[in-house]
Structure formats: C-alpha cells, structure tokens
Symmetry: C2
Subunit: 245 residues, 2 copies
Amino acid sequence: MNELFGQRNHTPLYVEVRDTVLGRISTGAWKPGEMLPSESAIGQELGVSQGTVRKALDDLAAQNVVVRRQGKGTFVAEHTAERALFHFFHIETNANTRALPTNSQVYSCRRRKADKTEIDALKLDRDARIVEIKRVREMAGEPAISETVIVPAALFADIDKRTLNDVPNELYQLYEQKYGITVHRAVERVRAVGASDIDAKLLGKKPGTPLLEIERIAETVDGRPVELRVSRCLTEGRHYVSTIV
Amino acid sequence: MNELFGQRNHTPLYVEVRDTVLGRISTGAWKPGEMLPSESAIGQELGVSQGTVRKALDDLAAQNVVVRRQGKGTFVAEHTAERALFHFFHIETNANTRALPTNSQVYSCRRRKADKTEIDALKLDRDARIVEIKRVREMAGEPAISETVIVPAALFADIDKRTLNDVPNELYQLYEQKYGITVHRAVERVRAVGASDIDAKLLGKKPGTPLLEIERIAETVDGRPVELRVSRCLTEGRHYVSTIV
DNA sequence: GAGTGGTCTAGACCACAGA
DNA sequence: CTGTGGTCTAGACCACTCT
C-alpha cells in the first residue's frame, strides 16, 4: 500500500500503475512516439517499487500500447506506415507475401446524419453527424477494394477530399497526426457477398462477383469506437489472414 | 548460472526453463489436463529460483500452453468442447452472438496419396499418405458449411467414418484424446468464392452463390502442422470475426 | 491449516544505446 | 561513462482452494 492509491482495496498495485499510465496516454499527456519516464522515475513518483512499474509496463507492452527498447527507454506506440500496414492490413497474396495497397482514389467525402447502424457501431448520440468517405484502393495496379469509411464528424473537424488525397493510403497516420486519435484495436467481421452494380463498376467486374466484405470497427486505446469501415475486396489471387493462438 | 543449463551462454534462464517445460508437454511427459509440479518444485529440480520459473510459466500461460489457477496449480491446457468452439470457431451471427455448429454429417472418409498443396501445407514427404474427410456442418438447423479436412495418415492410424460420426463436431477433442495430438495454433486464410456445383448441392443453394472459404492450417504446440481444413460457409446472417489488438 | 499461485519489495548484476 | 531496460534472486505477505 502507498500514499497515492489510498486505502484498502483489492486492486493490485500494478493495475493501478498501469491504469494511471494508460490514462496519461489516452488523455494525450504522453503522446505517441514520446519516451516515458524511466521505470524507477515512475516508481518514485507513484510511490511503488521499480519492479511493480515494470510489471505494469510489461502489460502495456503486451497490448501494444507502449514499445520497450533496451538501453533506450519505453515509448508510447505510434502509427508508422509500417505498423498501420502490417498490423491492420490483413490481406496477402496467395504466395503468402504481404499484399500492399498501392494507390487510393477518394471519389466522395460528405457529411450527413448518422444512420442507425452507424450510431450503434460508433456509440453516437441520436442526432450525431458523421463523415462518409468512399474510395477505391488498388493492389498490384488493379482496383481491388471498394471501401466506405465512416468517422464521427465531431472528432474530424476539417477532413475533406483534398486532405485525404494528399495522404492517400494510411488513414491511421492521418488520424493520429492531424486529429490526435490513435487507433489501437479493431474488430473485423468478414462475409462473402455478391458485388453490387456500383461495386462491380468500381472494380471492373460483373455484378454478383463474389467479394470479401470486411466490416471493421476501430477503437482508441481507451475503448472509444472511432471508425466504421466497410471494405469489399476482390480475392482472386489474394486472401485475408488471421492467426489463432 | 546453474548446474543444469551449463556454461556461458546468452540465453536467459527463464527461456531455458520455458523450453524445458514446453518440451515435456510436447513429448507428452506432461499431458493435457494434468497439473504441473509447483513453481518451487520446478525451480528446485532445475536449480533456478521460483521467480524465474514463474516468468517461464507466465510466458506459457500467455500462449495458452498452460492454464494457471490460483490456489490450485498450473495445468497443461486441454481441448474442452468450450475451448475448441470459442477459441477456434470464429463464426458468429450478425447479432454478434456466437453461432454454434449443431450437427455434422461425414459423407466421405478416404485415404490417398497427398497432392502437392497438401505436401506443402502439412510439410509431408513426397509419397506421404493422408486421410481426407468431407462433411457438412449445420448451423441453426440448416446446412451451412461444406468442409474438407486433411490429416496425415501416419498420425491418425485408425480414423474412419464411424469414429468421426460418433464424435460429431469437435474434431480437436478427438485428436487429443484418441491420437495424443493437441492443436495449439492455427492460421486461417479467407477468401470469397462462388459455390461449385457440389457445394451448391450440399448447401441447398445455387451454384455461384458467394461463399466464405476458410483455409486453415493447424499446428501442435511444437509447430508441426497436423491438419489442413477448407471450409466453405454460407454467410447469410452470419460472419467470421477477427480481432486485431 | 497446508499448499498453490499472485503481488510486492529491494538489491545485484547484465546488455545495450548513446554521448 | 551513464542511463535505460532485462534478468535473477530471496524473502515476505496475500488470496484462493481444498481437506
């Protein structure tokens, strides 16, 4: 027990430490890319031993909230292009090499009231407004993904077609750098659907062509959903990968 | 340093301990469901401190190799029906409730030489033989999944249609209990395909209906691939879930 | 009460990065 | 050289389970 976390409670100390650190990261007191104070410094500040801080930080490292580098320090995780792609983009070629989206064309970006699905998925108020972004992404030089991205208008003040086409592929870097929103975790729901007339046209295929539909809800580190994304993908010569451990 | 793990090397002690324990599990010296010796007993045997054993076991617990229960002990993980379904079966209804396969009909089980794909996926010898199991699984009372399962004949000596229909759904429990093979980890590759004539017939749909094809390669705890499985699923009112952390 | 894992501490030493 | 995280130890006490 110690002076900061107060009286008798049955929450382990390292959990309190972990949540304190997590809080500072999610409020932005410690920003992506920044180095945290050393283990002993945090321990001194919070009145716990270095070993307890270590356990707290190990937990956060296991959840990819921080990154530890021996000899250098502990850093708040950030969305490099590499992380965004390797961590969040799960399509690869049938030869099991990572397939990278090469190009992306935003053909629509508009603001409107959220519909019921969007309100549910993003936990919005009834009259909340959203930004709807539609784009086609290419892989290996061919249109491959027809994608609709929905974000709450309240969080993404000035986002527009031009902003988006300047930063073509890595939306999550844009979110982090321009809007201070770090996507930390996502749930993807995957279905097989037939291409609609619109999708068929965008992807240069016949209506009814089987497409992989990936619906993603992305959350920040404190669990707020901040993006709903539906991607319809051609999976000729490609597939979606998931590892079960 | 200590007497068992010998001279100067730069492998951390806890890694040696972890690998020793893992070895005993994968050779079957410690079997699924059994309790391991206590941390201090393992420490004494291997000549390391209890804290080092703890770190090794924590690692294994994080990988689901062992399960720790406070006050009881540390146990080798096993395939309960619950674990098989919740951990390895990733289809749920659109209401986000876990969809359970209710029934399963094996309509073919034969032995033959492995083809090239199978040799690659299961890392078999050129002339190895496999067992090919074909079945249809129902969900909510309707045929929903057309599945082909390939396992190396060498590992599954007497498997046949009757064995399979006696243990309808949970193959992994069967593998573990009858053949001493524990599936630990799997990679799934997911595509959208159109139903073939055969799949269409089995699932009661028209040829060309979009199906979700899930190709799974399952491994034991020591990384040997032991099963190749291709499931073609109807995803009307259902979807495949994957969480990215 | 005895035995298990879970938390917490304090301190020693190692490995790595960078000035 | 200093400061960082990484490993390892020894020992105290807590929380849970079972008898």
